[in-house]
């Protein structure tokens, strides 16, 4: 730990502080001859949609490397601060690092500036990280495709954003999904929103959780890189809600109950 004697001019910018301390985002690798080597992130399914009280964010637990299943307990929905969740698809090392930087960035800003960062500021912060990462992404080493969900307690409004590889953000009014299993469930989400019992945004918390579990189970049936729930081993998808009270991850027992009831018809 080092005592800094010069005046602080970073105005709550944690990434700048990190760089001053010698931290560098992954260095660009020069001279690679591999062309068009980046691929759209594969090997996961994460989703988010608006419901009555806020946003639900869910993800499967499988991590793969090529055709190999490496891990079945991966947490792909990550809390960033009390009102922000990030769901990740892509290269885990880069995605987890981004989540860590963002988490410290938001908390550092809130504590140093004595106010929370605006929702727009948070959305922009992830854009900046993705832009910094373009060099790695085009070389196929660090592509990340995140879903970013926030709740603004002052406006009582929830937001879902997804990003392209260059850092452009797109606000989602209803639902989104990313990862290799996402194409399988995007149609279902749209169908549910348009012609289901009621629009997604009007569904209760219980209905939203049931749908999220069913969607992930469906994705796992068709996509080998998306992990199914394994009740015999107490492995279930990750489910988290983001509401006026902040984020809340469902505990294993609660998820097990919802899984059990969700697998029945009706």
């Amino acid at each position: 730990m080092k005592f800094q004697s010069e005046p602080n001019t970073s105005a709550g910018e944690f990434f700048e502080l990190l760089e001053k301390s010698g931290y560098r985002w992954h260095a660009k690798i020069e001279g690679t001859e591999k062309e068009n080597s980046f691929t759209v992130p594969q090997g996961t399914t994460v989703l988010a949609f608006h419901f009555q009280d806020g946003v639900i964010v869910a993800g499967d637990r499988r991590a793969t490397a090529g055709n190999s299943i490496m891990y079945e307990m991966c947490d792909k929905v990550i809390p960033i601060d009390n009102y922000t969740l990030m769901a990740i698809a892509g290269v885990p090392a880069t995605a987890f690092e981004m989540a860590r930087v963002l988490s410290h960035n938001f908390e550092y800003y809130r504590r140093s500036q004595l106010q929370s960062m605006s929702v727009e500021g948070k959305i922009r912060a992830l854009s900046k990280l993705l832009k910094e990462n373009v060099g790695m992404a085009v070389q196929g080493l660090g592509v990340v495709s995140p879903i970013f969900a926030t709740y603004d307690p002052t406006k009582k409004k929830s937001n879902i954003h997804f990003y392209d590889m260059l850092g452009a953000d797109f606000q989602i009014r209803t639902h989104t999904a990313t990862g290799s299993g996402s194409q399988i469930i995007r149609g279902i989400l749209e169908h549910e929103d348009l012609w289901g019992e009621k629009p997604l945004a009007e569904r209760t918390s219980e209905q939203a959780k049931t749908l999220a579990i069913r969607l992930l189970q469906t994705a796992a049936l068709f996509d080998s890189a998306t992990g199914q729930a394994r009740p015999e081993d107490d492995i279930y998808p990750t489910l988290a809600t983001l509401t006026e009270e902040g984020y809340r991850f469902l505990g294993d027992d609660e998820t097990a109950e919802i899984y059990k009831s969700s697998m029945k018809r009706g």
Binding site: M1, K2, F3, Q4, S5, P7, N8, F14, L17, L18, S21, Y23, P79, N82, R100, V101, H104, E107, Y108, R111, S112, L114, G246, R248
Partner: protein
């Protein structure tokens, strides 16, 4: 000028007097345990005495606002870099003080060509095991640890009196409301002690009672509580909690 040891010692002594004189009007900040965590609290004419430093660490400050702010930012930088590079569990108040600001403050104070920090700090922490830690740090880098609560104030007599009185109370068995009421009472009584001791310095602009303090000043208070569902367990006192205290003091 300072090549002789005596002159250096004299200069350091003068700095003590200078800083103590400057600090004299600093209003107390108290930190006490209660049955669900710890409370840190104080009144002041201007807000800016109590801050969150990290997930389980809070700061109270007395002195020049710019100096408090400078050290607050240093603590924030150190805590967040450590938490990022290692883990939140590696960020402890002991490390921040002992290896962070204490040596730097001492060096700054004894380098007599540089302006001294006009501060007294209070650093509190609720450990992962639910144990409250209280630290008090002086402008010269000297720091002390307390188990059952502590206080800082501009006037050393007031500070020592508060320290003794806090130890007499079973704060750790109190509810938050009880701890707040008792701490507010001690704050109030400490001000009377000060005015008795220094009649000539009586300032008519200062509130004389707790009720006047509520009306004229800002009450700043926060808790670090195990009841928090969040990773960061610091929260400011709610309006309800402050109103309950206000009505209990009449």
């Amino acid at each position: 000028m300072f090549e002789e040891p005596y002159r250096w010692m004299e200069a350091v002594s003068t700095r003590h007097n200078y800083v103590q004189e400057k600090l004299k009007m600093g209003q107390p900040v108290l930190a006490v345990p209660y049955n669900e965590g710890l409370l840190i609290f104080g009144f002041a004419p201007q807000p800016g005495k109590i801050y969150e430093i990290y997930d389980r660490i809070a700061l109270g400050g007395v002195g020049h606002p710019a100096d408090v702010e400078k050290l607050r930012m240093n603590l924030l930088d150190m805590a967040h870099l450590e938490g990022f590079n290692r883990s939140a569990q590696d960020v402890t108040s002991t490390r921040l003080l002992q290896f962070g600001i204490a040596p730097a403050l001492k060096q700054n104070f004894e380098e007599i060509q540089r302006a001294p920090y006009i501060i007294r700090l209070l650093l509190v922490e609720l450990t992962e095991q639910g144990k409250p830690n209280f630290f008090r740090m002086n402008y010269d880098g000297h720091w002390e640890t307390f188990k059952n609560g502590t206080a800082i104030a501009g006037d050393e007599k007031v500070m020592d009196w508060l320290q003794r009185e806090i130890q007499k109370q079973p704060f750790d068995s109190y509810s938050l409301d009880q701890a707040l009421q008792k701490a507010a009472k001690l704050w109030d009584e400490s001000r009377k002690i000060k005015s008795n001791d220094s009649e000539d310095e009586k300032n008519n602009e200062l509130p004389e009672t707790l009720k006047e303090a509520f009306d004229q000043w800002y009450l700043e208070g926060a808790v670090l509580t195990e009841k928090s569902m969040s990773k960061a367990i610091y929260r400011s006192l709610s309006e309800d909690e402050i109103n309950r205290l206000k009505s209990s003091t009449g």
